[in-house]
Symmetry: D2
Subunit: 247 residues, 4 copies
């Protein structure tokens, strides 16, 4: 079983009328609903207003893949939580950043860049193109799929060059955006997926759901490590005696 | 001075009425015209029907950057010419592949892939977006520029992940394409630039000219080597004597 | 089941006394022996002197991962065979190049470079270091392992920057070498592994066997495609009607 | 002129007898001495105990390339200083991290990883191998050069895959290390160079000096931007009117 935790800011869904109608129980619950139907996936959800943002080391140790949706309250996530998430990723936990999660503290921490981008809210149609048809995250998708209404995100997107660029978004208003980006950092896999503005029913879209189910399976760790310090920072006094540490 | 050679198939310009009107002297002459006005660039042109495709080892040794435009007669370039071009690149010559040059033998040789893509001729508008505004090839450009009529190229484009993706094309018909891709192979720099269909006046566009002038300066070698075999394949018999070969 | 084919030049084992003693049935049989013991792997072997080098499109279609060992007779592999291998990889077949296979035609075809390197035969000890302890190919290995006698390979190694560098070799004579390199090309995964000179019992080493077993599992395709031309080069006449091709 | 600033922790040189003898005026002064002799370089130095660690926005705006040496007092650099350095890099300032600077806050911020590694102090000889002989940072160097005494650094080194790996270190005690790593982040170039332990006269070595002089020239910005927010995060309300922002 792949143990998934969906983290959500859960703010718009409680304070914005449009969003309330689209995601009455919150984006986290909408995502958990379709992921939880998969036979190989179990899902938990936590939200920003939970104690310590819902993040504990115990939870992360029991999470194979974390999904992260945030937007206007990024700065309410304390650095100590960002530390926990970053280290869990480097130890092997997969992480999927959704839409405006590009500006979340954990994403910027893992990228080392501002993750700035251009944006516009004009209900553009987005056509999501598959750039790597054979990539595990693209399996079961058509060549492209349309979202009849999304927030427009535009380049330049201030990120390190992706290890693998899986999707590019085409917007009817004239923009393009690197919509699906894969990274490896430490022992962890990172996927950024751009669609998912809170006022559109994006997470009910069958193709978007396929992407996220695929991404969960891609991001799950091959192996987990209990500590980052043990294997890495140490003095090798007796290497020639052939005594190896256990990873 | 940067010594540029423009290689052109020069077929459509002699056999297709539309192309004749757009490029009466050939695409190579149109490109040479604007590059040759730069104070730091000198330009030669060669065409497919020249002896040995116009390619000799001497020419390549005196070429800092080679531009390559071909389309329907890729297979008339013999493998021996491809060998010469590939080795010149690995020894340090920069190379810029233009438009349908994606399917040229030298490009496929250097990429190791089919370089297949999707395409459609329906006079789409192409909007070329700058993904890396700070890249040397993007200097002097606006955020994006439009080409009112281009052949549509679409993903998937079967290339290795680019070292740096500088441009993405947005097409009015709904496609996207990785329109500007940088690679390093051996000592050489490679740039692929997608706009430039023979029936459109793309190479007269000021922004396209800026891209190509920038690309020439980016691709020029920092240093050239006279041989690939000398520095690489050798038996190191006396390394411990501290005798180094001269690169 | 992962269907593996081991390709071997099988020349030294028949003509060189030292090699005969180490690999009396050939390197391919030694590799097939330990891979074939794995419950999830079935193995075939073919050699250079088989008809058409033992390579047919049918065989490649039924091969999930191909291993390739060659050394002094690279040029006896015709380009038509290289074409078949290259296209099988781009369609999804994994491939593992062993030791002097760096100079094989299929490796150079897939890399686009000379794959030149430095070398010396002085029975150095090689210490193979794990650079990415969490990589699937490194599972079950200690931090490093020693080979008491290997041909020395040295940098510079003329290859594209690896997508992932998994091993670096340390040689007692003073060299280093990028000993384990991963690439993705088209739909295929490529792994180069440097140890394996014909006069040393490298392929009987338990850690080397672990590497190759892991590499087979890593390189196996997620999905295969029957054709490279169908999905890629096509005219999209009616895209707006929503009619997608089947990949 | 390339405006260089050398930042040094300057602790060992004041408190450790061995280091005092090697670098009586501090590592920063030793580096400034040889860089300052170059006709195209001007050098300033700042140290940890300067006000605000010697770092101001004004200084960074007037710095083309920053060199950073730190070891035991990384945590005395406040996050506000790390913010300034990170943003200067993303806006275009080049940065060179030296030796134990791998664990500095700015390096870890820009990498997004722990930058952990293995280490041992046993006066090993280090042989620094040139992996990319044609890279601008490797110009003027022999195939390899020896340092008769360095701290041993060993893999695994927890960093993102380098854009370009220029050097690999071979240690007489049996380790290897990715000793010269290039990255691009935002508009800035980053180089990590491993040699330079405080108890060895590494920075007086002619080849090390060549590396650092080359690295300064490689890392200098092609173009600087005054702000990260202006070009990136904005609402594009009137894009179709053709009004572009100035980058």
């Amino acid at each position: 079983m792949i143990r998934v935790t969906v983290w959500n800011e859960f703010f718009h869904e409680q304070h914005d009328e449009t969003t309330k109608k689209v995601y009455p129980e919150g984006i986290h619950k909408a995502i958990a609903a379709f992921l939880g139907k998969e036979e190989d996936i179990t899902v938990k959800t936590v939200v920003l207003d939970d104690e310590n943002c819902g993040i504990t080391e115990e939870l992360l140790n029991e999470t194979d893949v974390l999904l992260w949706w945030g937007h206007v309250r990024h700065n309410d996530v304390p650095d100590s939580v960002v530390d926990l998430v970053q280290h869990a990723v480097l130890k092997g936990m997969g992480i999927i950043f959704l839409h405006s999660g590009h500006h979340s503290k954990p994403f910027r921490r893992l990228m080392g860049t501002t993750a700035n981008l251009c944006w516009r809210e004009t209900n553009d149609l987005e056509r999501v193109w598959v750039v790597k048809p054979y990539h595990p995250i693209a399996q079961g998708l058509p060549r492209y799929f349309d979202l009849n209404g999304e927030e427009t995100y535009g380049e330049p997107f201030d990120i390190p060059e992706p290890d693998e660029l899986v999707f590019i978004g085409w917007f009817s208003g004239g923009e393009v955006f690197r919509a699906g980006c894969c990274y490896r950092r430490g022992n962890g896999k990172i996927f950024y997926f751009q669609p998912g503005h809170e006022t559109f029913p994006t997470y009910y879209n069958e193709n978007v759901q396929t992407v996220l189910k695929n991404a969960v399976r891609w991001a799950k760790p091959d192996v987990r490590v209990s500590s980052l310090t043990a294997p890495h920072v140490r003095k090798i006094d007796d290497m020639k005696d052939g005594e190896d540490y256990v990873r």
